[in-house]
């Protein structure tokens, strides 16, 4: 029987949540790497037993862990992330030049075709690739060096490359997003890059329509429509129908268009999900009600999904990498909170249940749909 495996990264370790296709009864394994921050855990689409995890602390730095048995056992892989050449400077919070310094891996994106190939998005922002199962890492320097890098500035969470999407129709096309620089695209496998931020408008920067400097929080696509991108920006939910060449706003009737997470239904490319957050200074849901908003029109028209979610006194946040969908016939939607809850819906968001309620603050949620 089919099933799902939910991979959860938290402030104090990783957890693996497993269920059959009904997604009613869950087994919780963990913590893995207890006491360490696990920013991201993600499995290979072509070999679900191969899973990569980013393990780090401010004390002892970065490790990459790899599993070959679906997360039961793990082995450390390579952890040397050396920028290519002399990396130069970006802007610091006060606008002064600041040298590029590696801090951690925010996001691991396994290849769509090869379990040993994986991309890593890091802070300070850069993109690395491994072709040997994470043993060695080489930067794709064309992103950092394409020209706008010296003007990039960190967001509150650091200058992180947090989103990596490889186009399912063309592996040479890769989208990334950086806080607070914006979105970027390569069409040649990572050799050359350009900003794709036309149409973004951010009142928090000197030129609201600047080429770079936008605090993009998250990008999402549906595999069947790789030219259509959805974005949760610091403020504004945005959409592009031309691979990021231009963007338009689809925030519509959301109670707040600030937020972090955004994702797309597995079988309905115009059905998207966000979790509105009150504001950039109030990182909790409006009115203390935890509501996922769903649009079945590709944006603009949104409906609140509340069944099974707390509708009073809820002041958690849902971070950018903490929402995912499975691909079972009835699409499952999952998200984790900074309060340690992981919620699951087996019916496209109509109703929700908490798989667990008391984990450490959740940093990331990924789902593997198992045959």
């Amino acid at each position: 029987m089919s099933g799902v495996r939910v991979l959860v990264g938290t402030r104090k370790g990783a957890f693996v949540l497993s269920s059959d296709g009904h997604r009613k009864d869950w087994k919780v394994d963990g913590p893995l790497f207890g006491g360490w921050e696990v920013y991201h855990v993600k499995g290979s689409p072509v070999d679900p037993n191969r899973i990569y995890a980013s393990q780090s602390t401010g004390w002892f730095g970065q490790l990459i862990q790899r599993s070959n048995d679906g997360g039961r056992t793990w082995e450390p892989a390579g952890n040397e992330f050396a920028y290519d050449g002399v990396p130069g400077t970006h802007q610091w919070y006060d606008g002064t030049p600041h040298p590029w310094e590696f801090a951690r891996v925010w996001h691991l994106e396994p290849s769509l075709t090869d379990p040993d190939t994986v991309l890593a998005g890091v802070e300070d922002a850069a993109l690395f690739r491994s072709s040997d199962g994470g043993e060695s890492w080489k930067e794709l320097p064309g992103l950092r060096e394409h020209g706008t890098g010296p003007s990039w500035q960190p967001g509150a969470g650091g200058m992180c490359l947090h989103t990596i999407i490889v186009s399912p129709s063309d592996p040479r096309r890769i989208y990334v997003a950086i806080s607070a620089a914006g979105a970027f695209r390569t069409d040649d496998g990572g050799e050359s890059w350009r900003p794709i931020n036309r149409g973004l408008h951010s009142e928090t920067i000197p030129d609201p329509d600047a080429q770079v400097g936008h605090c993009v929080h998250r990008l999402a696509i549906h595999p069947s429509r790789p030219e259509v991108l959805y974005m949760q920006k610091h403020w504004d939910v945005m959409r592009s129908d031309d691979a990021g060449d231009s963007w338009f706003e689809v925030s519509g009737n959301l109670p707040s268009d600030f937020g972090f997470a955004i994702d797309v239904h597995a079988h309905e490319p115009e059905t998207i999900y966000v979790v509105p957050i009150t504001s950039d200074s109030e990182h909790y849901p409006p009115e203390g009600k935890l509501r996922v908003y769903r649009s079945r029109t590709g944006g603009n028209e949104w409906e609140p999904l509340t069944k099974g979610l707390p509708q009073s006194n809820c002041y958690v946040d849902v971070l950018r990498d903490a929402m995912a969908v499975d691909s079972l016939d009835s699409c499952g939607v999952y998200f984790g909170t900074t309060g340690g809850q992981v919620y699951a819906s087996a019916d496209s968001g109509d109703s929700w249940q908490a798989i667990v309620r008391d984990l450490p603050a959740v940093l990331s949620v990924e789902v593997q749909t198992l045959a």
């Binding site: 360490w36 004390w59 002892f60 970065q62 490790l63 450390p76 952890n79 040397e80």
Partner: protein
């Protein structure tokens, strides 16, 4: 034989429960001791010092013989009791944060 006490998280990574003992060839310095730690336990590469710059991680400290050696040059000789194994060399995670 050099004795080294690791912080709890690094013991977990290295799969050791107590202090470790290492052979160090040549002069006994912080660099040679950490080289020996990393050679014996490759998983610890990058956890004590940055793998690129070789600088001590900011939240890691080195103590021995009731002295803080964290700011000593990496090639300075360690105290004789550490070199003879009478006293252990402590790798310490700073008491900070959650």
């Amino acid at each position: 034989m050099i004795r080294v006490v690791l912080p709890a998280h690094l013991k977990t990574l290295a799969h050791v429960e107590r202090e470790i003992e290492l052979e160090v060839t040549g002069q006994v310095t912080q660099r040679s001791v950490i080289d020996a730690i990393e050679a014996r336990y490759p998983v610890l590469r990058g956890t004590i010092r940055d793998p690129t710059t070789q600088k001590r991680r900011p939240y890691v400290r080195f103590f021995a013989c009731e002295e803080d050696l964290s700011h000593e040059p990496p090639d300075a000789l360690l105290p004789e009791p550490v070199a003879t194994g009478a006293e252990p060399y402590h790798v310490v995670g700073a008491i900070a944060g959650g």
